[in-house]
């Protein structure tokens, strides 16, 4: 569903670019295929909502373009400028606080968005939309008489009732409690199977983005840093900054060296094998590298096994945090860097891991991902991680 279209790009895709120096700096571009869900993630102030409003026609950047379903909704480039008003863009928008009309019932809220249908059909259609979001029986309620989750559903029904060509969701789950959030997320995932339009989800919740999105676009200070599948982003962030924004640990700096056995990544006293990318880097050049926690393998005590010959590293256990079934382990290597990974709590117990203990791990060559060095960003974001 949509994955074919996204592979090469398609005329029906929603394609957005936006550039301006101020007042809200923007330098972003992303695309989303019909049926696909793209999550815009980033810290607050990263421009996520501004970009969503740009798609809706509620905001016009100085330069950029918005194309959807082959139509140009907005264009401001090299002297050209035209912009369709929100009414003409056929978008369904769910606002952060839902923006339901307080003087209209749930049904009337949905009916209002059906201006494209003959008046006689609106009542029945609106009732159908409400039952699709499981609100049958609550049609006559006013928003003030509905719970947060129910209001969110009305807002979603109203957005879809317009039969939009793009669905825009601005932090739609932020105003409800955890239990309701899980349920609404599940319902959105189910509902998605019935609609084949691009869906843009603005969120600062990485877990939510990972669970719901086909694609994630990482934003920082109005700049789109990387777009890709959650899997690709989490394994291969394009820069240390992206890695930090995605809350990844195990980002280090190193250097490429020539050894008798071939090129290696020098990290402190260790020469690490890397499966891919070393040949593209000049020796002697500093670079950053990242290793997903799943690619750190803890050697079992006194029982060396296959695969443990791969990049073996000795380290000291400096922190153990038990979070339910998983334990987060931090290891300090001799030159001071910290490796962090999770293992099952029972496995930590079985290995009798304890603070200050000397252990060995393998850093799987397949997982090591090389990135251009960005010392300044790294320094500023280390601070954030410490908080």
């Amino acid at each position: 569903m949509g994955s074919l279209a996204s592979a090469g790009g398609h005329v029906d895709d929603l394609i957005v670019t936006a550039q301006q120096a101020g007042p809200i700096p923007l330098n972003a571009s992303f695309r989303c295929a019909p049926g696909e869900l793209l999550a815009l993630v980033g810290p607050s102030g990263s421009g996520k909502t501004t970009l969503l409003r740009t798609i809706a026609g509620l905001y016009q950047p100085q330069q950029g373009s918005v194309r959807c379903a082959g139509r140009e909704w907005f264009l401001a480039q090299s002297g050209q400028r035209h912009s369709l008003p929100p009414q003409a863009r056929q978008i369904g928008m769910v606002f952060q606080d839902y923006a339901l009309f307080p003087h209209l019932t749930a049904l009337q809220n949905v009916q209002l968005a059906m201006g494209h249908l003959p008046r006689a059909q609106r009542f029945e259609q609106a009732a159908q939309w409400l039952s699709k979001v499981r609100l049958q029986g609550l049609e006559a309620r006013y928003p003030s008489e509905l719970s947060g989750g129910q209001r969110q559903r009305v807002a979603l029904a109203r957005a879809l009732a317009r039969e939009p060509q793009a669905l825009l969701l601005d932090e739609p789950f932020s105003a409800v409690d955890q239990v309701t959030r899980r349920r609404l997320q599940r319902e959105l995932a189910l509902l998605r199977q019935q609609i084949s339009i691009p869906i843009i989800l603005v969120t600062h919740d990485l877990e939510e983005a990972t669970a719901l999105a086909d694609q994630i676009c990482v934003l920082h200070n109005g700049v789109s840093l990387q777009q890709g599948t959650p899997e690709a982003l989490f394994r291969k962030p394009t820069s240390p900054l992206v890695a930090r924004l995605l809350d990844r640990h195990n980002v280090f700096s190193g250097e490429v060296v020539e050894t008798d056995a071939g090129r290696r990544l020098q990290w402190g006293e260790w020469w690490l094998e890397v499966a891919e990318g070393l040949d593209r880097v000049e020796p002697g050049k500093p670079l950053a590298w990242y290793l997903p926690p799943s690619d750190i393998v803890l050697h079992r005590r006194g029982r060396p096994s296959q695969g443990e010959r791969e990049n073996p590293v000795a380290a000291t256990v400096s922190e153990m945090v038990v979070l339910g079934g998983m334990t987060s382990i931090s290891l300090r290597v001799s030159h001071g860097d910290m490796l962090r990974f999770d293992i099952a709590t029972h496995a930590a117990k079985r290995n009798q891991l304890s603070l200050g203990e000397r252990v060995h791990v393998s850093l799987l060559a397949e997982g090591i991902h090389l990135m251009p060095s960005q010392r300044t960003h790294t320094a500023s974001h280390n601070k954030r991680n410490l908080l």
Partner: protein, 222 residues
Amino acid sequence: MDWSAFSVSLRLAAFTCLFLLPLGIWWGRVLATTQFRGKGLCEALIALPLVLPPTVLGFYLLQQFGRDAPLGGTWAALTGGGLNFTFSGILLASLIANLPFAIQPIQRAFEHVPANLREAAWCSGLSPWQTLWRIELPLVWQGILSAAALTFAHTLGEFGVILLVGGAIDGETRTLSIAIYDRVQAFDEQGAASMSALLLVISLATLGLVYGLAGKRRWSRG
């Protein structure tokens, strides 16, 4: 009871409401939803009649209404009549004196409409006019009603400005509140009492209507 004065008062109040409310809706909305240079000055000018002694306002209007003044001269050129000591003159004075009563309640009401409701309406396909009629006006009608009631009641009670620009010409510019003053001056206490009672009842009824209707909205609960 001076029925002729009562009729002048009612006509004056009705016309003042009729002319001021559309202006109040327009300006109230502009002031509530847009930012522009000089907005503070604009709001101060609108509020000025609240604090300015009515005689001061009346004095300036009297000067402006003369045929030699730009306003009075233009009016005379357009209509052939004068403004001082005419119904048109006290109506114009009343429109100015009531600006804060007509605009401020509506402005406050528009300020309470969240900006994203307008945006949600646009995103739902409603034109700006449809948004005004179907979303904004239903949400601010209470403010409009307050403005209407306050303007109406205040016009009935207006004294200083009307006396200065209108005098007390029977059937033309003598309003109920001026008639009361006349009766008191003439030691006709009973006449003054009945007219005062009438004004009291009308004012109370108007305000009672506003506050009574205010609570009757199912959707505003919770």
